[in-house]
């Protein structure tokens, strides 16, 4: 008798944990939004909202790449350093036009990602270790590339990425981020690559036995993460109007991992939730903004974020 009830309460708890994992991020986001509507002056204005959306773009882009990597049961700690490298590379090629510079920068991100992927998939180093090395060295490399200075960006094309507002309202960078989100969601849902990456994360052994190109997929996933981080670096640079290699993307790996995990993607791989990731990224941004907009020390937001990630991971690990 008592065992049965214990069993049931256990199941209830598991049920609740699953509910929180799947829907919690939307509830939290809605609650925080409503709180801001009540507490924050002028929150419901086009200016405030679009500012928040612009701010979230780099975190979101990085989170999308991380969501793919985490889907394969991996992790990519190098994303912040890749953003810095992108910021360092971009100004060097602006002489060839902003399109060329953008392409070269994204390629640089892809190369770093490939390096990560090869170390993980071919050499067989654990993802956290492989990407840690790039995290350590990458930002230094970025500063070497940039000569250790902030470089002002004057190229109109790049600046336009941050300043253009479609229809005078919607920031271009937000549209880019949304388009990329849709693209990544489509890749996960509709392409062979997406299906295979979920299978690898869900059961690596079975995937090998079924003849999937496991190495190729893993390398591709890390390369994608590198490209997305580089794009985030470009947009962050454009918004700042300067290439700030020492600071751009600092600690973004933490905010992004939080966004992905809070959005319901388990660290154990096999599942990727893009909509949840988007909501998670917005939640993280809005949390910080709530403190700033109400003149509270944002450091509190930092501490709360730390609590959120611990709670989110804890709830996930409790599932099974």
């Amino acid at each position: 008798m008592s065992e049965a009830t214990a069993d049931e309460s256990g199941r209830d708890r598991a049920e609740m944990a699953r509910w929180i994992r799947d829907r919690g991020v939307y509830v939290a986001l809605a609650a925080l939004f409503l709180l801001n509507v009540v507490v924050t002056n002028n929150f419901l204005s086009v200016g405030t909202i679009s500012l928040q959306l612009v701010e979230v773009v780099p975190i979101l882009l990085v989170s999308l790449g991380l969501a793919l990597v985490i889907g394969t049961e991996g992790i990519d700690l190098s994303v912040g350093s890749v953003m810095a490298i992108a910021a360092g590379v971009l100004p060097l090629y602006l002489g060839y036009g902003w399109v060329a510079a953008l392409i070269v920068t994204l390629l640089a991100g892809a190369v770093i990602g490939l390096l990560n992927g090869v170390m993980v998939a071919v050499v067989g180093i654990q993802p956290i270790v492989a990407t840690l090395a790039v995290l350590v060295g990458g930002r230094g490399l970025a500063q070497v590339i940039a000569g250790g200075r902030q470089v002002r960006i004057t190229d109109e094309g790049i600046l336009a990425l941050a300043r253009t507002r479609i229809g005078g309202v919607v920031p271009l960078s937000v549209l880019i981020a949304l388009a990329v989100s849709a693209l990544v969601a489509w890749i996960v849902k509709r392409t062979v690559f997406g299906h295979q990456l979920l299978a690898i994360g869900g059961n690596r052994k079975a995937s090998v036995f079924s003849g999937l190109p496991v190495r190729r997929i893993l390398i591709g996933v890390y390369a994608a993460s590198g490209v997305l981080a580089a794009l985030a670096g470009v947009l962050a640079t454009a918004r700042l109007g300067a290439s700030d290699t020492p600071n751009v993307g600092q600690l973004i790996e933490l905010a992004s991992i939080t966004a992905v995990v809070v959005g319901g993607t388990p660290l154990s791989g096999g599942q990727v939730r893009i909509v949840g990731t988007v909501a998670g990224a917005v939640l993280m941004q809005l949390l910080t903004a709530t403190f700033i907009m109400n003149n509270l020390p944002y450091t509190w937001a930092q501490m709360i974020q730390a609590g959120i990630i611990i709670a989110a991971v804890y709830i996930q690990s409790n599932r099974t």
Partner: protein, 516 residues
């Protein structure tokens, strides 16, 4: 070897460990049913049984990993209930596992004494004393290694003996060895047996689990046979011969019922070149020059007792394990083994034995699991054609009669039989030419079993070359056109035509390796 000790021991000696009416039940499964079992001091007691017989459940009861659903466990005359493996260990029951559970990077001495190392006056670890004592312990067991050698530099056999030395130097009264020889070379086995005999001389009770019958006959004096969770025999080993023991394990007498063989006329296929040809496949110590051929439309049964090298053959063909020598050809084309991807591309499919960890992707849907291997064919420019997937998945779910709420249900929620059907469907989608099925009906309810067997017939008729690995004699005999019997990694016999009967198969299984 039992001669030396029979004098000092009487049958009426109180058992060190005993089970009385022990039943272990899990939801839907009874792993052990009403088992009485005694393990006495100074006896080397063999425990045998095929997969699923309940050997590991019995060990887990004795070592505190499981608790009995019903019945009692007695240790040294007192009723006990070990809550954890640590409790059993502290009480003096040592367990040696198949995989050595020591720390490879640490030295032999550290592995022997970690957690109870000798201390200096300052309460720091006294390495000098520890190495000295380790030397004594090792010498005691006749293990000639330097105690300061890192464990990982030793062969598995020595590692195993270090594990034994560790547990026994903790004053063990009973030692349980779970297939300790499964990855040892012959010379290492000899050394291990030497150590076991020394233990035996010290009146330690030893439970020895092995699927190698000749080893059992070499070292054990008592034997207990389990089958389907029931104890079917327990007594002195010299009362049984090899055939009798196998008969008890398999639950069949040598002259038993004649099961009907699959009505395939083997001549149908004889003129056609083999689809799968394996020759000289070797991976020491598990596989030793295995040869086999399967023609299109033929079912080759791969039989043998547990550990004979059946699954290992499948894994080697598939390229999951690397091989030392040998060749595999598919339809006359040599297959470069070593990568499952290449085998799949050549048209080989494997239904793995361990469905859960090697087959299904539990958190993905039925649909995604089925389409997995065929994705490249179901897509254009890397984009999956949803309609093509739906059609394929629907047709296979219907054809194999997969029972589920729909194609989007997660595979982890399905029954074993339906998971197996999903696995089959995954492979059928890529239209393989060779299908290797490793225990395709294990853990599957009776109805699904029949369906899967029918499917095997159907696939053979469609021209697939099938390798069927099964521990169930009737299944092998009924489904196969020919049977290859493996023993200790070697081909022990081949049955064709009229000779594919359970009796013949039993004969080969029960015979020793000596006629070769």
């Amino acid at each position: 070897m039992s001669d030396s000790s029979t004098d000092t021991r009487t049958d009426s000696a109180d058992p060190v460990l005993s089970l009385r009416g022990v039943t272990v039940r899990f939801p839907g499964v009874t792993a052990l049913a009403d088992v009485d079992f005694d393990l006495r001091a100074g006896e080397i007691h063999g425990l045998v049984g095929e997969n699923g017989a309940g050997k590991s459940s019995l060990i887990k009861i004795l070592t505190g990993v499981y608790q009995a659903t019903e019945g009692e466990v007695h240790y040294l005359g007192e009723q006990v209930s070990f809550a954890t493996p640590g409790d059993a260990q502290d009480a003096g029951i040592a367990t040696i596992y198949q995989e050595v559970d020591l720390v490879p990077l640490m030295t032999v001495a550290q592995n022997l004494f970690i957690g109870r190392a000798p201390r200096t006056r300052w309460h720091t670890i006294d390495f000098t004393a520890m190495n000295e004592r380790a030397k004594d312990v090792l010498a005691d067991f006749g293990i000639p290694v330097d105690p300061t050698t890192p464990l990982q530099r030793l062969g598995l056999g020595v590692q195993q003996m270090v594990a034994i030395a560790r547990s026994v130097s903790q004053d063990a009264r009973a030692v349980i060895m779970d297939e300790p020889t499964s990855s040892l070379e012959a010379a290492e086995v000899d050394t291990l047996f030497e150590v076991i005999r020394r233990l035996h001389d010290r009146d330690v009770a030893i439970l020895f689990v092995s699927h190698r019958l000749d080893e059992l006959f070499r070292i054990c004096d008592q034997v207990t046979v389990l089958r389907d969770g029931h104890l079917v025999h327990s007594g002195p080993l010299d009362e049984l011969d090899r055939g009798g023991l196998v008969a008890k394990m398999l639950g069949r007498e040598l002259v038993g019922k004649q099961t009907q063989q699959r009505d395939h006329d083997p001549d149908d296929h004889d003129d056609r070149p083999p689809m799968l040809e394996v020759s000289g496949l070797t991976r020491m110590p598990t596989l030793d020059h295995v040869d086999l051929q399967v023609r299109p439309g033929e079912v080759l049964g791969l039989a043998g007792l547990l550990g004979a090298g059946r699954s290992e053959t499948a894994r080697a063909i598939m390229g999951i394990d690397t091989i030392d020598e040998g060749t595999v050809t598919i339809d006359g084309q040599p297959l470069r083994t070593g990568r499952p991807r290449r085998a799949v591309a050549a048209g080989v499919a494997l239904l793995p034995e361990d469905r859960r960890s090697e087959g299904i992707i539990p958190d993905l849907s039925i649909r995604e699991n089925i389409a997995l291997a065929a994705l490249p064919q179901l897509s254009k420019a890397g984009v999956v054609s949803e309609s093509a997937v739906d059609d394929l998945v629907d047709s296979f779910m219907q054809r194999l009669d997969v029972k589920a709420s729909g194609p989007d249900q997660k595979v982890r929620e399905l029954s074993g039989g339906n998971q197996q059907k999903v696995m089959l469907a995954r492979w059928l989608c890529v239209e393989p030419r060779v299908m290797i099925m490793d225990e395709p009906t294990r853990g599957i309810d009776v109805g699904a079993k029949v369906e899967i067997r029918e499917l095997i017939d159907e696939l053979a008729e469609q021209g697939l070359a099938i390798v069927l690995i099964s521990s169930e004699l009737d299944e092998v005999v009924e489904e196969s056109d020919r049977v290859v019997v493996l023993r200790d990694g070697e081909v022990a016999g081949r049955l064709e035509g009229e000779r594919v009967t359970e009796d013949e198969l039993m004969q080969v299984l029960a015979s020793g390796g000596d006629e070769q």
